[in-house]
Symmetry: C2
Subunit: 481 residues, 2 copies
C-alpha cells in the first residue's frame, strides 16, 4: 500500500495550477526530445519558446558589468592579481571590493541577515529614493530568491481561510492564483477592460469588492501588476491614485507587482511606483500598507536563473514586521549572488564610471529591441483573421484575443480540452511555437486568448510571424463553418 | 485603521517559531551594534556566534575549486582569454566548460527546468550511485534553494489539517516544527534517549505512533536527522534498518535529513543513506517512500549563502510526482549557482585532476579541524559543574544538558523566561558567546540544554572555553542554593 495517493495529499496542492509551466510546456519538451532523437520528424527543426518571460534562454546576453561583479564576488582571491585587471573592468573590481566590504567577514558563502545583507539593502533603498524622490528605509527591504517567494510570504501572512479574499486582476499572472490556492484563500477577480487597452476601472474594483463582501468573504489585499502581465498595459498615474484611495478606504493591503518597472515601450507612459504615488498624495506609513515586488529576472537584465528580488514593505506595525521577519528567517536567507545582483540592478554604473558606456549600450540595445519586437508581433497578430491585440505598452507579453469558429470549439470539446488550449496545442504541433492558453491567466467567459512573449531574438521574429500566419490561415480554413 | 494586525493575520504564522534566529540572536545583534558604537562598553570585544551552522561567517574558507567553477560560469566570456589560465586551475576551466555545455544555450541567467538542469541532476545521480552502490535516477532529483524549501514542499504536499501528524525527533532542528506549524499539521514527537548517546529507539517510535493514532491523528511521515541536529549522533546501520521497517509497515514517508552526510568524526560510525539501507534490505520503489535531503550549506563545503540543495524523491507514483513537480514549478526553479554547486559537491575533483591535491588538503583540513574542535568543546562542557555532554559523532553541534540550581530557575521565572533562555541570555551578556536555548529544539520536560556549534575557528576555541568556564562558575555561584 503506497503511503501517499492523490486522495491523501493536501487538496490545496491538487487545486493549485500553474499554466506557465503546464501541459503545453510539457508537450513542447516532449516534442523537443523527439526532434533530438528523430531529426526531420516534424515540419520544423526547433521549439520557439514564447511561453515564459525567460530572456536569456532565447539568447539575450547578460549585462557584462553585472556578471563581472558576480564572478569577482564568487572568487575574491583573484581581486588582487595582476591578470584580473586584464579581464575585468576597473569599476567592476572596485564595486566587488565595496560589496565584499559590506559583507561581514567578506563571506559570500555565509547565511546573511534574513532580510538580506544590510549594505546591499542600503544600496537598494538609495536606488528606490533616486527613482521615486521619496525616502526609502533599508529596514523595509526583504531580499528574496526572485519575487515569487516574497509573494508567497505575503499570502501566507494574510490568508487565514477561504473566507479571506485577495483581489486579483483577470487576466493575471498565475503565480497569484497558485499562491492563493496553496494558502487556502479565495481569489476575488476584478476584470481588466480589454476594450480600453486592459484598463483598470475602480468601479469594477468596487463592484467585485462588494460582491465578495456579500458572500461573506473579507477582502484583505489588492494585487496590481504594473506594467501588466500578461496584458502589457502601463497604468496612468491618475488611475494609480484612484487605486491607492480605494485600498486606503477599504483597508486593503496594496500588493504591487512592479517587476516590469524598466519595461515601458511607449513615450506617453511612464512607470510610477505605487509607494511614490501614495507618498505624492500625502499618505505616509500610517495611512496605507503597500508592498512593492521587484525582481532581477525582468527589466533589461533578465537574470531569471540568479533568483534575485526583493519586496519593500511599508505601512505595517512593528509587531507585524516581526512576523514577516520570522517567515523570512525560517528559510534563513536568500542566495547571496541574487542579493548582490538585486543591489546592482538598483544601483547600476553611473555616468563617468569606466563601464558606463558599454553598460548603457547593452541596456539600450536590449530595451529598444524589445520595443521593436513588441510592435512587430502586435502588428502581426492584428493582421490575423479573427485576432485583435492590444498595444504592448510595457512588460514582456502580448495577450491577443482570438475568436474561434464554432467548429474549432466543437473539436476542442471532442478532444476534451478548452478551445484556447486546443489552438495552442495545434500551433505547437504544426510550428514548434509555444504560447500559453488564456485559460491559465483567466479571461472573460466565452472569450479566448493566448499569451506570447516578445522575447525571441530579432532574427527569429520573422520566422515566428510567418509560421504563425501560415498556421493560423490553415487552422481557420480547416475549421471554417 | 491598520489593515493588518496580530488578530487578523494567519494564526499559523503566529504559532510558528524559529529559535535559531530567535530572541537570543536578535539580542546578540543589538549587542554587536552597541560594541560598534560604544567600544569598551562590555567585558568582551566581539560576539562569538555559536548559534547557527554557518561556517564561513566564522572564517571557514570556501573550497577553491568550487569557487573557481562558479566564477567562470558567472562570466563565461573570460573562458577563452589567456589571462584566465593564470588565474584559474585547468580542471576548473574544463569543468566550467562541461557545465555550460549542459545548460541549454549556455545560459546561466535563464530559468531552468523546475527540477534543475538535467546535466547537473545527472552528475548528482552519479554521485549518489557512487556513494551508495545502488542506482539513482536524475528524474528523482529536485534541486532547491538549500534544503529548507524541499522540506517545506514535502510538508505542503502531505499535510491536510491538524489531523495529519509528522513524527519528529525531540530534540529536533526547528525548521521541522516551524514548517509543520506553517502548514497546519501536528508534530508527533518521539524522544531521543540522551542516556544512550541520543539513541533512536523503535519502541519509542511505536509508542508515540500509537499514542497519536489514539488521539485521532494520522501519522503521515517520519523525520529522521542523520547525523543528528542538534544532537550530533550518527545512527548505526542496524538501527536504520529497524526505522525503515517501521516506516514500511506503518505506511509512513521517510523524510531523511542527510545534510550532514560528510560530517562524521568517529571511526566507529559511518554515514549510510536511508535509501541505500532500504535498497540493501531488498526494498524497491514500490515498497517504501524515502525522501533524502542534501544541502551545499553543510559538509566540509559550508556554502550556506549559495542556497543550493536537492531532494531525492523515491517511492511515489507518477501522479504524486507530478504534484511535486507542480509545486516546484510555482517558484520556477532554484538559483543556478546553487544548482551548479550542488552538482560539484556530489562530483568533486578526482585523483589525477589538477586540483585534486589542493582540494583534498582543503577538505581534510576542515574536517579534521572540526573533529578536534568537537572534542575540545565536548571535554570543556563535561568539565563544567552540572553539565553533561554526549559525544559529537557527527554534524556541527553539541547539545549539552545543564542542571540548573533552583534559585536560577526562580530567577528565570521572575524574568518571565525559561531557565535555558535565562542561562543563554546571561552568557551572551557576560561573554558575547551565542548559544541557542534547548527550548527551541524541544527537550524532555524539566531538563535544560543549549545548542553550541563547533564552528568557531580553532584559534578562537580557547577563548570560548575559558570565557564559558569562567561565566559558568560565577553563574553557578551566584545562584547556589
Amino acid at each position: 500500500m503506497a503511503p501517499v495517493s492523490l486522495d491523501t495529499i493536501n487538496p490545496k496542492v491538487l487545486k493549485c495550477e500553474y499554466a506557465v509551466r503546464g501541459e503545453i510546456v510539457t508537450l513542447a519538451q516532449a516534442v523537443q526530445e523527439e526532434l533530438k532523437s528523430k531529426p526531420g520528424s516534424r515540419p520544423f527543426d526547433e521549439i520557439l519558446y514564447c511561453n515564459i518571460g525567460n530572456p536569456q534562454s532565447l539568447g539575450q546576453q547578460p549585462i557584462t558589468f553585472f556578471r563581472e561583479v558576480l564572478a569577482l564576488c564568487d572568487h575574491p582571491s583573484i581581486l588582487d592579481k595582476s591578470e584580473t585587471r586584464g579581464l575585468f573592468s576597473a569599476d567592476a573590481i572596485e564595486r566587488a571590493r565595496q560589496i565584499l566590504n559590506q559583507i561581514p567577514g567578506r563571506a559570500t558563502g555565509a547565511y546573511s541577515h534574513s532580510q538580506g545583507i544590510k549594505g546591499l539593502r542600503d544600496a537598494i533603498a538609495a536606488g528606490i529614493e533616486a527613482r521615486d524622490g521619496f525616502p526609502a528605509d533599508p529596514n523595509d527591504i526583504f531580499l528574496t530568491d526572485g519575487a515569487s517567494p516574497a509573494v508567497h510570504m505575503m499570502m501566507q501572512l494574510l490568508i487565514r481561510s477561504e473566507k479571506d479574499g485577495i483581489l486579483c486582476p483577470i487576466p493575471q499572472y498565475p503565480l497569484y492564483s497558485a499562491s492563493i490556492a496553496l494558502h487556502g484563500g479565495t481569489l476575488v477577480p476584478y476584470y481588466l477592460d480589454e476594450a480600453t487597452g486592459w484598463g483598470l476601472e475602480v468601479s469594477e474594483l468596487k463592484k467585485q469588492w462588494a460582491d465578495a463582501k456579500s458572500k461573506g468573504i473579507t477582502p484583505r489585499a489588492l494585487v496590481v501588476i504594473n506594467p501588466g502581465n500578461p496584458t502589457g498595459q502601463v497604468l496612468a498615474e491618475n488611475n494609480q491614485k484612484e487605486i491607492v484611495d480605494f485600498c486606503k478606504k477599504e483597508g486593503l493591503v496594496l500588493l504591487a507587482d512592479e517587476v516590469y518597472q524598466e519595461n515601458v515601450y511607449v513615450p506617453e507612459k511612464k512607470f510610477h511606483s505605487f509607494k511614490k504615488v501614495a507618498r505624492s498624495m500625502g499618505y505616509g506609513e500610517k495611512d496605507i500598507s503597500v508592498v512593492s515586488f521587484q525582481s532581477v529576472s525582468k527589466g533589461y537584465y533578465g537574470e531569471c536563473g540568479k533568483r534575485g528580488g526583493y519586496m519593500e514593505v511599508t505601512g505595517f506595525g512593528p509587531e507585524i514586521r516581526e512576523q514577516i521577519y520570522k517567515l523570512a528567517s525560517v528559510n534563513l536567507c536568500s542566495n547571496i549572488s541574487g542579493q548582490i545582483l538585486a543591489s546592482l540592478v538598483m544601483s547600476p554604473p553611473k555616468v563617468g564610471d569606466e563601464s558606463y558606456e558599454s553598460y548603457s549600450a547593452e541596456k539600450d540595445g536590449i530595451l529598444s529591441s524589445l520595443k521593436r519586437r513588441a510592435k512587430t508581433l502586435e502588428d502581426a497578430f492584428n493582421k490575423l483573421d479573427g485576432v485583435t491585440c492590444n498595444k504592448a505598452e510595457g512588460a514582456m507579453y502580448l495577450f491577443p484575443c482570438i475568436r474561434l469558429p464554432e467548429k474549432a470549439i466543437k473539436a476542442a470539446e471532442a478532444a476534451k480540452t478548452t478551445p484556447d488550449n486546443f489552438y495552442c496545442r495545434s500551433l505547437l504541433n504544426a510550428t514548434g511555437i509555444v504560447f500559453v492558453p488564456g485559460s491559465g491567466f483567466g479571461q472573460v467567459l466565452g472569450t479566448w486568448h493566448f499569451r506570447c512573449t516578445i522575447l525571441p531574438q530579432e532574427d527569429k521574429i520573422p520566422a515566428v510571424v510567418s509560421r504563425l500566419t501560415e498556421f493560423h490561415k490553415s487552422f481557420m480554413e480547416e475549421f471554417r463553418e
